[in-house]
Structures are given as C-alpha cells and as structure tokens.
C-alpha cells in the first residue's frame, strides 16, 4: 500500500500559548513494498510524521493519502478503523501498551477490535509467539511477569497480529542488548520480504538505516529535506552534516581507508560485511598491479 504526504503541516496544541509547530510543508512518498528509513536529529519531527501515516494525527495543513483514503486538513475524517488495520505502528517502548491478563489476550486485542474471529486471532497469536522466539508457555503468563526484552516482543506480536499491510516502526530496539536488537531488526526485515510489507522505520542508527532500508528520508526542523537511495544519501557526507547526522560507521571507515591508502573501492559500502569484502578485493588487486 502506498502512502503520500502532500504539503503536510502540523502544530501541537494549536491556538494556545503552548502551540508548537512540529511539521512544515512535508512532502513524502512511501511507495508500496518499499522499506523506508526516516532519519534526523532529535526533535526533527520523525515521530510526528509517523503518526500521520495511520491518521493518529490529522494534518493541520495539507493532505495525507493512505492507499486510496484521503485525510485532509480541515475536513472531518470518519471511521478510520480500516486505515488503522492496514497500517500498524510499533511505538517506541511498545511494552508500555500491554494491559491484559495474559499474553494471549493481549496479542488478540488488536485483531478482535478489528473484527477478526476469535479462533483466527488465537491462531495468529500462537504462530507469532513462535516466530518471535518467545519461550513455550508464555501465552498463559501475565505480560507483567516477563523480562523487558520479552515484553517488547509480545507488544510487537500484538501489532503484527493485526496483519497490517504497512508496518511503521518508531525506534523499535531502544534499550535492548545488542543481540536483542539484531534479532528484532532481522525479524522485521524477514517479515518485510516474506509478507510483502511496506515498512517505515524511524531510527537513530545510521547502520540500521543503511543495512535494511531501500529508501532514506531525512527530516530536519520539521521539514523533509531529501529522500533517496541509501547509497546516494550516505555518500553525501556534507549534506548529512548539515542536518547534524553522520554516515554509518562502515562508510566512515571506507572514507578513512581510501584517504590513507589512496585505493578506491568504487561504490560505498553500506554494511560492514560488504566493506570487508571490498577492502579485501581492492587490496588484492592493488598489490597485484604494483
């Protein structure tokens, strides 16, 4: 499913002394099936943009197109359920939304709200618990008896159980240990491919953006400054610096390596694995040509 933001502006607490402009004239196209990373300095408006993607916030200016549904500033939007079912959001620290007596009931909460039959909802819950690597017997436990990392997984299962077509992630791995991070990011990537999802990831990790996304958008002071392919975005170090960002570590290392040795690796390496391969290749060729 495709999402389009056209000239979107948003102010929190409009018309009060606490009014705060968060977005100005944001134009962003999220093509169907893409994996888009939104990056930007803190306070640049990333989370605010995300909440427009399933109409949790309504633009105070401009238009948001979610599939063929149109959300327009100043026009009352009715019955947003369908939009919410199609676009699932995993918020930052999603374990804070757990509430039900058992893990099973909590995961089924979303699907049941959207009219999925009880049996089907339960089937999805059971399947997801396995997929997310949660231990056996967890379904009957109270979500509050789990460890932090397990709670996070249950909360994510609760969103996935709605079987959304678009999956929106707001820094889903904050606070997890390195392995937890990697496992969850890999899982989202796998789902993106096997379930043919459209994925939008907000992250402070340039490494994750470079590794997983096929499109990158930069937010800066409430504007969406550029969108493009990761290779183009991350090879433009000056531009990143203008928006208080840095290229991923592998790109920085590649730059240092090239400056020091005078060798050129050609295209930029978005991941460490690719970089290692490219360096090995260049060194082998370089020494042969000497």
């Amino acid at each position: 499913m495709e999402i389009l933001l056209k000239g979107v502006g948003y102010s929190y607490a409009e018309d009060t002394p606490f009014e705060k402009r968060a977005l100005t004239d944001v134009n962003l196209h999220i093509p169907s099936g893409s994996y888009t990373a939104i990056i930007g300095h803190t306070g640049s408006g990333k989370s605010t943009v995300l909440q427009h993607l399933n109409a949790l916030l309504k633009p105070t200016e401009g238009v948001v197109m979610i599939g063929d549904r149109k959300i327009e500033a100043g026009v009352k939007a009715k019955d947003l359920r369908n939009v919410r079912r199609q676009v699932g959001i995993v918020f930052q620290f999603p374990e804070q939304q757990l509430f039900d007596e058992t893990v099973l009931k909590d995961i089924m909460f979303g699907p049941l709200n959207f009219g999925v039959p009880e049996k089907e909802a339960e089937r999805r819950a059971r399947e997801l618990v396995v997929q997310l690597g949660l231990p056996d017997g967890v379904l009957e436990k109270s979500p509050f008896d789990l460890s932090g990392g397990q709670m996070r997984r249950v909360a994510i299962a609760g969103v996935l159980a709605m079987e959304p077509e678009v999956l929106v992630l707001d820094e889903p791995t904050a606070g997890l240990d390195p392995r937890g991070r990697r496992e969850i990011m890999d899982l989202f990537h796998e789902l993106h491919i096997t379930k043919n999802l459209t994925t939008v990831l907000v992250t402070h990790s340039m490494e994750d953006a470079a590794r997983y996304a096929d499109r990158v958008a930069i937010m800066h002071k409430g504007h969406c400054m550029v969108t493009g392919e990761p290779k183009a975005i991350f090879s433009n170090e000056e531009q990143l610096q203008d928006y208080s960002l840095q290229p991923p570590r592998s790109v920085r290392l590649q730059r240092d390596f090239e400056e020091r040795t005078g060798l050129k690796l050609g295209e930029i390496s978005l991941t460490e694995e690719v970089l290692a391969k490219n360096i090995a290749l260049a060194m082998a060729e370089g020494s042969r040509s000497l």
């Binding site: 306070g43 990392g149 390195p178 390596f257």
Partner: protein, 282 residues
C-alpha cells in the same frame, strides 16, 4: 594512590528468598575498584547489572557476602554517609528529576544534606558549569532534550562533590548526539577531577573507552579486564548477547575475507593504520 574505593566480596542477592524457584539476580560476585578508575559494567538484559548498582549504594543489601564502599562495610549505619559521597544517574531521564527547574533539581541533594544557602548557590553554579548547562538553570525539565536532562542529572550528582559516580544505562534512551554529550561530559570530568566512574552500558563502543570492563552473565561475573583483553573473547561474548566494538568486528570480517591482519584493533584509526602498513608492505 592505589586505594580501593569499592569492593564486592562473594556477594549473592535474590529478590525473593521465599520463592525456591527464583534464581539469584547476583550470584557470588567478587571484584574491587580502585580510586580514579573508569569501569564499564556490561551484560545482557537481566544479567544483574542494575541489581549490582543497587547493592553499591545500599538500596539493597546482599543475602550473602559483603559490599564495601570507601573502606566501610555497607550497613544501615554507614548507609547515609556513603550515599552522600556517591552520585548515581539512572536510565530514564524523566523519572529522576525532582526539582521543578534545572537549578532546583541540582540543589536537591545539597538541601537534603543541610548545606547552607550561600554555599549551595555556589555549588549549584559550579556543577552546572561542569556539565555546560548554566544557561538552562531556569528551564523546566520537560523542555530539555534527553541528553540535556541526563547532564542535569549528572550535575545533581556532582553538586555533592562525590568520589564515585555510578551511571546505570544513563545513555541508553538517548539519541547519538545526546549520548556523545554525556560521554564527553564524563570524560572531561575525569580529566579535571579524577572522579571514579562505574558505567553500566549496552553500548560496546562506550565500554571500549573504559579502563576496565566487568562482564556479567546470568548473575555471575563472567570476566573482567582491560577492553582489549575482554573483547579478545570474541565469539564467547556474542553468544552471551553482547557484541564487539565496530573496529573489532571489522578486523574479524577482514581476516575472514583473507586480509591477514596481525592485531586485534579497538579503534578505527589503528585498524586503518595496519591496513595501510599491510598494503604498502605487499
């Protein structure tokens, strides 16, 4: 001046001793920290790090073993005296702000310890300038960024002129810039005051900056040593849910790809150095 500032001697702690099925959160842990050191405490989620921090300042008392701070064994009697000489900063910047404005918050520990007003004003000022937040003294906490809040929390700890500062994942909820701000602040403080720092973290790059790393695994001390020595364990650490610093991961990947690097590198600079030497030799 190699004086011991904190030590654990065979410390074991279980949250609920009644419950037979409950594993100890900290099990038979022994280590010692010297004055002026910078220690990183790392380990997977639930490995017992926060529990150890709570044992260090008497929020919890061990079931077995002894915690010694500043030469005194932690007990109900020595507790308040010990606490007045150590500062602690926690993970969630929103949950540790007591004062309504930045300066009120920094003054909180001073008020509690009955410091006279004139001295208080001066110490608040100094502490805020140490973390470079003087310009924000009248700001309210919820208008600050995460990194700024954590710096204020550090100032609140510094105002008491502590000998020891404990940071429990103080950077984990921050963006990269906020994280840098905090780490930079700690670095500067250590240079100027020789403060002893124990920093609990999941960020291995941050841990690599410390002088010594203690690795926790399922409540037990797995290893301790210099970053170079600890990270040499390689795959054993990754199996425990941890990771290696970027430069070391790269070193390993390059070796696998057939670049015969001789050394393990902790920093990118050193790695590029060896690559260059390797290349010019070839």
């Amino acid at each position: 001046m190699n004086t011991e500032i904190l030590s654990f001697e065979n410390v074991t702690f279980t949250y609920n001793t009644e419950d037979e099925t409950m594993r100890p959160a900290v099990e038979n842990v022994t280590f010692s920290i010297e004055s002026g050191e910078w220690i990183a405490l790392v380990g997977h989620n639930g490995s017992g790090k926060s529990t150890m921090a709570k044992l260090m300042n008497g929020l919890l008392f061990p079931n077995e073993g002894k915690v010694k701070v500043f030469g005194h064994t932690m007990s109900e009697e020595t507790l308040w005296d010990i606490r007045s000489q150590m500062g602690m900063v926690f993970q969630n910047p929103d949950n540790q702000f007591v004062g309504a404005t930045v300066q009120d918050d920094v003054a909180f520990a001073l008020e509690n310890n009955g410091v006279p007003h004139a001295q208080m004003v001066e110490r608040v000022h100094v502490a805020l300038s140490q973390v470079k937040m003087e310009d924000y003294k009248d700001h309210e906490p919820h208008h600050l960024s995460g990194g700024q809040k954590q710096r204020v929390a550090i100032a609140g700890a510094l105002a008491m002129r502590p000998k020891l500062l404990i940071l429990d994942e103080a950077t984990s909820m921050l963006d990269p810039q906020g994280r840098m701000e905090v780490i930079e602040t700690i670095r500067r403080l250590r240079e100027s005051t020789g403060l002893t720092v124990i920093s609990i973290t999941h960020d291995l790059e941050e841990a690599a900056l410390a002088e010594r790393i203690i690795v926790m695994n399922r409540g037990q001390k797995h290893v301790e040593g210099t970053p170079a020595a600890v990270f040499n364990e390689g795959s054993e650490l990754t199996e425990m849910g941890l990771d290696l610093p970027f430069a070391m991961r790269m070193t390993h990947l390059l070796q696998e790809a057939g670049v015969a690097l001789q050394e393990e590198h902790m920093t990118e600079d050193k790695l590029v150095d060896e690559l260059w030497k390797y290349y010019s030799r070839a």
